[in-house]
């Protein structure tokens, strides 16, 4: 080892990769555009300025390997970093159109020189011990830094200045002498993939990425669902880091084709999800995964995995890769984003054909026997199915039968039982019990084995059509804090009405006898003793206010559909309470209504609530009687019992 030289630990390589990514992502792709907007550069002028960046990038990407002026890679890297640094600081000046184009050209040129030089001689800074891991780490950290909330949300000026300072730090990194130890090389041999194919794959990926980025950036709904909020940004950053490290691991274990394929699947799926702003949140998981996976490969391939036989060839390949895939692919993607505003599924399919088809064909050609047998069996099953369908006579289904099919299709059986256990608390709660002979007539009986929600064996006796419909559309609103998903989509066609009809059909004889049992029910004495109006108010707001307060959401949405508009319990009237008589009796009746509802109306029961909860609810309503204790004495008015700072 020469004096002054030391074996590199690789941190310099990781740092340079991270700095390059931060500069490119937060400044060249982001802050500079914001800066141009603040300078009033827009429309055709903006296109010209961005074109200057692309020209600079393509030019220096192609020229970098041929530059004989600065033969030392360290020196060339410093020149690239210096140009990038200068461009970042120059962008802070009040630039006109021509000056903006010049700075833009400088950004592209600096990045072109920087990236191609970095990957051509990457082992000089990463060493040979863990080069792939260091590339993954550098890329992941670069993305993480860009997503740090204070940095991401900072002004364009702060971001530009930080990018410039980071370039200066990069120059300092290159000043530290290094020495490579060739005996440590550890990357296993990769299967041969032609350079042209790799170039096409990267171009497709950059194209998708740039289009998705531009569309998110310029669609407020999508931006809100993907990049806004500290927690979201942290999550994005950490996903980027994890995916980048995973990419390095997969590149070593599974090779380039695998990583590019997975990157496409994630990125393509994200692009499809972005078609619906309602799914932007899910897209914000897949987008960073796809981007980080291929971003690591974009450095690792030319630097470490490519089949280049000499440094010069590696440099040329890197140049073409960044000129065509990087700069041109990016421009094409942004153009698509600008013109269409979305990524058409056909375009995703085309990108998939470029990336997935060759390895898929290779895979399948190696497994002709597997493929042939699978296709043969699929076809055999298809024709057998057709024959059976032709032979079977299927009479038309009634609405209830169709609804039963919907119940089965949606897997309702996984959360709802249809079995009231005789001689158990089930009977009062969900009853009456259905005779086993009746149950056996169902094909198949839908007993279920788990209750995430109420038993539905007798739901037709307990709920009205309106309640069922409103509940399917927004369960958490109608049934306080219900974890059931919305099934509003069923009402886009007849499935929703069929399902409601089926549920209403779920009732057996004995309903009147059961209602008598309900009328005999009172909360247990211990529950009555523990009940209090404050709990009652909380429970009222959770379970009742949606219908029984003036601004209740369910009340407002369905107001014309109710058999009778539910009374606002702040003012009454109380239709189903005795108008006179002992207050305790009225409160007991209120408890029964809260527990079992009012048959024949839209008022549902809350059968699953405990006696204590029911007793508390019956205490709370600010009825014309005021709030009362269990003895029926007026104790406090509503405004006095409401906890401080917790008013409805």
């Amino acid at each position: 080892m020469l004096r002054g030289e030391r074996r590199t630990s690789g941190w310099q390589g990781a740092s340079l990769v991270a700095i390059t990514y931060v500069y490119f992502l937060i400044f060249a792709q982001f802050a500079f555009l914001k800066r141009l907007a603040s300078l009033g550069v827009a429309g055709a002028h903006l296109t010209s300025v961005m074109a200057a960046m692309a020209v600079g990038g393509i030019l220096l990407s192609l020229l970098a390997p041929r530059l004989s002026l600065w033969p030392s890679p360290n020196l060339r890297l410093r020149v690239g970093l210096s140009a990038s640094c200068a461009a970042a600081f120059l962008s802070l000046l009040p630039l006109g159109l021509v000056a903006s184009m010049a700075v833009s050209f400088l950004i592209g040129a600096g990045l072109g020189l920087l990236t191609v030089t970095l990957v051509t001689h990457l082992r000089q800074w990463t060493g040979n011990r863990f080069p792939l891991l260091l590339v993954g780490l550098g890329t992941g950290v670069g993305y993480l830094v860009c997503n740090l909330p204070p940095f991401f949300t900072a002004s364009a000026e702060v971001q530009a200045a930080t990018a410039g300072v980071l370039c200066l730090a990069g120059i300092l990194v290159t000043l530290r002498p290094t020495r490579i130890t060739p005996e440590d090389a550890e990357i296993p041999p990769q299967p041969a993939v032609s350079f042209l194919r790799v170039l096409a794959c990267f171009t497709a990926l950059v194209w998708l990425d740039s289009a998705a980025f531009f569309i998110i950036q310029n669609t407020p709904e999508l931006k809100a669902g993907t990049w806004e909020g500290s927690a979201h940004l942290w999550a994005n950053g950490l996903i980027h880091l994890a995916a980048a490290l995973a990419s390095a691991w997969f590149l070593r274990r599974r090779g380039l084709s695998f990583v590019l394929s997975v990157a496409f699947l994630a990125l393509g799926f994200a692009c499809l999800l972005l078609l619906d702003p309602g799914r932007a949140l899910l897209a914000s998981v897949f987008y960073p995964i796809g981007v980080s996976l291929y971003s690591v490969a974009l450095i690792a391939y030319p630097a470490l995995l490519g089949a280049a036989t000499s440094t010069a060839e590696r440099g040329r390949q890197a140049g073409w890769l960044y000129a065509i895939a990087g700069w041109s692919g990016s421009a094409l993607g942004i153009g698509m984003g600008q013109n269409l505003g979305y990524v058409p599924p056909l375009f995703v399919l085309a990108a998939g054909a470029v990336i997935l088809l060759p390895p898929l064909l290779k895979f399948l050609l190696q497994r002709k026997r597997e493929l042939a047998l699978t296709v043969a069996m699929l076809l055999a099953a298809f024709y057998l199915d057709r024959i059976l369908l032709a032979v079977r006579i299927s009479p038309p289904l009634s609405q209830v039968e169709r609804g039963r099919r919907v119940y089965i299709s949606e897997g309702c059986i996984n959360c709802h039982s249809q079995f009231v256990r005789p001689n158990s608390p089930d009977v009062l709660m969900w009853g009456p019990a259905e005779p086993l002979q009746e149950l056996r007539q169902e094909q198949p009986p839908l007993i279920g084995n788990r209750r995430q929600g109420p038993d539905l064996a007798e739901v037709g006796n307990r709920r009205s059509p309106l309640w069922l419909r409103a509940h399917f559309c927004d369960p958490s609103e109608v049934s306080g804090a219900s974890i059931m998903p919305s099934y509003a989509f069923l009402f886009r066609d007849r499935r929703g009405d069929d399902l409601v009809a089926y549920l209403l059909s779920l009732k057996t004889a004995g309903a009147e006898q059961h209602q008598t049992a309900e009328r005999l029910w009172y909360p247990s004495s211990s529950a009555v003793a523990q009940a209090n109006a404050n709990d009652g108010e909380r429970l009222f707001r959770r379970h009742c206010a949606t219908c029984h307060s003036a601004g209740g959401r369910t009340r407002l949405i369905w107001q014309t559909n109710f058999k009778r508009l539910p009374p606002d319990l702040a003012v009454g009237p109380f239709f189903y309470l005795p108008p006179s008589g002992p207050a305790a009796e009225r409160i007991h009746r209120l408890a029964q209504i809260a527990r079992f509802g009012v048959p024949g109306t839209d008022m549902p029961g809350h059968e699953y609530l405990s006696d204590n909860d029911i007793a508390s609810i019956s205490l709370w309503p600010p009825s014309p009687y005021g709030c009362r204790n269990r003895s029926g004495n007026r104790v406090k008015t509503h405004k006095y019992t409401t906890p401080k700072g917790d008013k409805p």
Binding site: G278, R279, L281, L282, R367, R369, E370, L371, A372, L373, T374, M377, L378, A380, A381, F382, L384, D385, L388, Y407, I408, E410, G411, C412, I413, N414, C415, F419, R421, P422, N423, S424, M429, L436, L439, R440, Q443, P444, P445, L446, I447, G448, N449, R450, R451, Q452, G453, P454, D455, S476, A481, S482, I483, M484, P485, S486, F489, Y608, S610, D613
Partner: protein, 442 residues
């Protein structure tokens, strides 16, 4: 780990066909576990359901359960049958992978059909429409391969005894019935006996299904290894007891009878004999050294399953836990605890030296401790829920805390299964560890 000459006789090594079966099984385990984790997240954050469109929670539950059952717990048995019928060696070995592909394709078709809303409404027999035909066809493809292998071995293997051939022939006949039974049992018109007090299975039907598991347990060692000398007595006793219990089961009949009837819970209690008997039975066979920890694990889970299964059926206890998370925990004990450890034990025995893929300390303890934690958590939730159904229906802090912990243990199980899958695919890409048929002949 080097293979001792003794071990090499017990388990010849990793056949690529068995490794392929393990890989397919593990793929579906990882997939189904991922779905399970997603479901656990949805229970905590129901608002996320809107991201799924029409592929709602209820449809994913079906996917999760069926892929665990027909993917993870079935495909290792395909590997076992390859070995028993000699399909993993000789000229027919090249058809093992195509058969596995067809099986996996049928699961893929099934998953898509469940997500598209095609369901029979029968838990664990949820095949309908096109998938109801394709899956039995996949079973028939496996059967045809086994039958062809059987014929080939009959003609070419001179060292096979008549008893072994007879047993294999009987096995083939029974295996041919399975796809037919599967098709018929998936029909909505066919439903087993119902316990009129719970809506669940009767004691007799639980005894019947448990005895089928016992029969498989007793049969497995004969396809995997050889007996130790001087242990034939315990083997004979075990088979005799099983036969007696089947007679008891037939005597009980298939009527809709309550678990409060003493004949039901006492007869189910007869299964307790299998706690010591299974351990003694398995000790009567020679096993590869790599199987030790999974053999212990499966015997522990089996003991826990039999014991808790009986206790949970007792009057009063079943009434408390029915329809609660307590029984969800018990199902997991059966599937992730007992069945999974048994299958891994079988795979390790089949893979021999390649069994290292299941023996990493992190994944072994990660999986088993996570399953135990899951069972304990769900039992606690079920205990509370038995007193107060609101505990689950209206989520509160205690319920959410339990569900968060459940999510964490679900992630640990997913990580363990991923570890096995990654190692299995590594093994799959390695050159064959066993000599080819030609080499053996030579």
């Amino acid at each position: 780990m080097s293979q001792s000459p003794r071990d090499s006789n017990i388990s010849p090594g990793s056949s690529p066909q068995v490794v392929a079966a393990a890989s397919h099984a593990l793929f579906w385990l990882v997939f189904a576990n991922s779905v399970g984790v997603m479901i656990a997240i949805l229970l905590l954050f129901p608002a996320l359901n809107r991201l799924l469109g029409e592929w709602t929670y209820g449809r994913w539950i079906i996917v999760h359960m069926n892929l665990e059952l027909y993917g993870w717990t079935s495909l290792p048995m395909a590997g076992f049958l390859f070995k028993v019928y000699g399909a993993d060696r000789g000229p027919l070995a090249q058809w093992c992978r195509p058969v596995l592909w067809v099986w996996s394709a049928s699961l893929g078709v099934g998953a898509y059909s469940w997500l598209s809303g095609h369901s029979s409404g029968k838990l664990f027999l949820d095949w309908s429409g096109y998938a109801r035909i394709f899956f039995p066809l996949a079973m028939i493809a496996l059967w045809l391969l086994l039958a062809a292998s059987f014929v080939y071995e009959w003609k070419n293997a001179a060292n096979s005894t008549l008893a072994a051939r007879g047993a294999k022939l009987l096995g083939l006949v029974l295996l041919l019935i399975v796809p037919i039974v599967m098709y018929i049992a998936s029909s909505p018109g066919f439903y087993p006996a119902i316990n009129p007090d719970t809506g669940g299975p009767t004691g007799a039907s639980q005894l019947e299904s448990s005895l089928i598991i016992v029969a498989i347990l007793l049969m497995l060692p004969f396809g995997l290894t050889r007996r130790k000398a001087g242990h034939s007595r315990i083997i004979a006793i075990a088979w005799a007891i099983m036969a007696a219990e089947f007679l008891l089961c037939f005597a009980l009949g298939r009527a809709d009878i309550s678990h409060h009837r003493p004949a039901q819970y006492l007869s189910l209690g007869s299964l307790l004999i299998w706690v010591p008997l299974t351990a003694a039975y398995y000790a009567a066979f020679e096993w590869h050294a790599n199987t030790r920890r999974w053999r212990i694990a499966f015997l522990c889970w089996w003991s826990a399953l039999v014991l808790t299964g009986w206790v949970l059926f007792l009057p009063g206890i079943l009434d408390h836990f029915k329809f609660t998370d307590g029984l969800v925990g018990h199902s997991l004990l059966a599937m992730a605890g007992f069945t999974s450890s048994l299958l891994i034990f079988v795979l390790v025995q089949l893979l021999g030296e390649g069994g290292w893929i299941f023996n990493r300390t992190r994944s072994f303890y990660g999986w088993n401790i996570a399953v135990l934690a899951y069972v304990v958590l769900m039992s606690a939730a079920g205990w509370r829920e038995g007193f107060d159904p609101t505990f689950t229906i209206v989520p509160g802090m205690a319920r959410n805390a339990i569900y968060i912990l459940r999510l964490v243990v679900g992630l640990v199980m997913l990580a363990s299964s991923l570890d096995w899958l990654i190692d299995a695919t590594t093994l799959l890409r390695e050159p064959a560890l066993v000599p080819t048929a030609q080499e053996v002949t030579a």
